[in-house]
């Protein structure tokens, strides 16, 4: 297995991966909900960093803005406005067993996936086109795909989001009388 050259990108990737995995693991093991929310924020930011490393800086920033900024705050609000003590240790039940099986399966799948790749030739697998039609700007790339090729799915997604929003409002309101 050829070890890639130690560029800034590689170092950054390792550090970011460490942040993502570390936050995720820490989230699983903390007891207080508010720490979990904070750790999830860490995961979001780390993932954004990986997007940026992949030259998808628009997506990366959107990730920070929406997930790390807005959604984490929303979770914090929800947690602060309700009372939460330490979470009780849940006893082993069918749910737990199912989770273990699912997680184990995922691990196996990932292991298999990694092993089937010939890492010596990893650079040839993602050929870089020299000049994409939109230039170097990922903003234009995103805009191009959303507003030309994927217009209808994009609009559909926004409709679904609105439906979800309205549904949430209706559910949150107590039933009258």
């Amino acid at each position: 297995m050829a070890f890639p050259q130690l560029t800034g990108q590689m170092i950054a990737f390792m550090l970011i991966s460490l942040v993502v995995i570390g936050s995720a693991v820490a989230m699983l093991f903390t007891r207080r909900v508010i720490y979990m929310a904070l750790m999830i924020g860490g995961v979001f930011i780390g993932v954004a960093g990986i997007y940026v490393l992949l030259n998808a800086d628009f997506i990366g920033m959107a990730q920070v803005l929406i997930y790390a900024g807005a959604i984490t705050i929303l979770m914090l609000f929800a947690i602060m406005l309700t009372h939460h003590g330490h979470q009780e240790q849940t006893p082993v039940n069918g749910h737990t067993i199912f989770s273990v099986v699912a997680a184990g399966g995922l691990l196996g799948l990932l292991y298999w996936g990694f092993n089937t790749v010939d890492w010596a030739k990893w650079q040839s697998m993602s050929p870089k086109t020299d000049a994409p039609e939109w230039g170097t700007s990922s903003v234009k790339a995103v805009a191009n795909s959303i507003y030309t090729q994927y217009t209808i799915p994009f609009e559909l997604v926004s409709v679904i989001l609105i439906v979800a929003l309205v549904g949430a409002v209706i559910l949150a309101r107590k039933e009258e009388n």
Binding site: G8, F58, M61, L65, A68, L76, F77, V139
Partner: protein, 328 residues
């Protein structure tokens, strides 16, 4: 972008990064220290007072004395506070405030600053993270004034982020780019403050709210909430919150100068000087308002953002788009 990222990691590149970081940080800290000094002097002049005049000539070293004092103070953590959160809160607010400075182009050569394709988005995204620190610090303090201040902060900052971003969208439409350097270059012929005057007005108001400056200083409204989210903080953790606030003022000044006032463009003087003057104007405006206005009612605050600023900024975007198509 990120040219140095793909270079091999050698001692020279590391040294370059470190030196660049140190220079940018010290320049910013100097600017922040003197904007605090300027605030006190300007406010004093408006109040017919003298202002700081003891430390150094004309009190020029007052800010450093203050910072030193805050750093040397005892680090007090309230007994009933959530200790870890209490300690982390100021950092979460503080770190993004310095990170946003990376995209502010001080000069035409933008030495040591990043030329990001998504510069504007980067600024908005990172500054939204600071709220988390405020909310966490407020919650961790276990103090009712803090919680009210923290919740107010969060509500205010999130509500005003939208008109801020929408008003900037007009500029992005005009320039056809999110890259701040390109936006500045697009203003060679005409500063965007002229065609984007509606957007600029919304921007200034939303920026004042984002920075929690008078008349939108509700999160730390001292006459109601004592000191808002920072009530329980003292020493250098308090200094972190304060520094973050003033760094954001500087950064917002830089952003305003780049987006609306033509950045480093200007005759005779070098680019950085023009940039400084323009950003300084914005910073002065914040202090001027502080000396002039009372605090707005917090019920009006939300209504103002959602019912006035956001519709206006959306209107501005539509107008800009129409004009741009008509011209082209």
């Amino acid at each position: 972008m990120f040219e140095w990222l793909n270079q091999p990691f050698t001692p020279m590149t590391v040294l370059g990064m470190v030196i660049g970081g140190v220079i940018v940080l010290s320049v910013i800290l100097l600017v922040v220290a003197y904007s605090i000094y300027a605030q006190r002097k300007i406010l004093a002049a408006m109040h017919l007072r003298i202002g700081p005049n003891r430390v150094g000539p004309f009190g020029l070293f007052q800010s450093f004395a203050d910072i030193l004092k805050l750093l040397l103070k005892e680090d007090i953590v309230p007994a009933k506070a959530d200790k870890a959160m209490f300690l982390i809160g100021p950092m979460i607010t503080y770190v993004p405030s310095f990170m946003v400075l990376a995209v502010i182009p001080y000069t035409a050569t933008h030495l040591f600053t990043a030329e990001l394709n998504v510069g504007v988005l980067y600024y908005i995204a990172l500054s939204s993270i600071s709220v988390i620190g405020v909310v966490l610090g407020a919650w961790a303090s276990n103090n009712k004034y803090s919680i009210i201040g923290g919740l107010r902060s969060a509500a205010q900052l999130i509500s005003y982020e939208i008109p801020l971003a929408l008003s900037i969208l007009g500029v992005i439409l005009m320039a056809g780019s999110m890259n701040i350097v390109e936006i500045v270059e697009a203003q060679k012929n005409m500063w965007f403050i002229v065609p984007q005057i509606i957007g600029f007005s919304v921007f200034i108001i939303a920026a004042m709210a984002e920075l929690s400056r008078v008349p939108f200083d509700l999160p730390e409204a001292e006459s109601e909430l004592v000191a808002g989210y920072s009530t329980e903080y003292s020493g250098f953790r308090f200094a972190f919150y304060m520094l973050a606030e003033y760094v954001y003022i500087t950064a917002m000044g830089g952003l305003a100068a780049a987006l609306y006032l033509g950045g480093w463009e200007g005759p005779l003087l070098p680019g950085w000087a023009w940039y400084g003057i323009k950003a300084g104007l914005f910073i002065f405006l914040t202090f001027w308002l502080q000396g002039t206005f009372p605090r707005i009612r917090n019920t009006l605050l939300m209504t103002f953002s959602w019912k006035v600023l956001i519709p206006i900024s959306i209107l501005n975007i539509i107008l800009t788009a129409i004009i741009k198509i008509a011209v082209a």
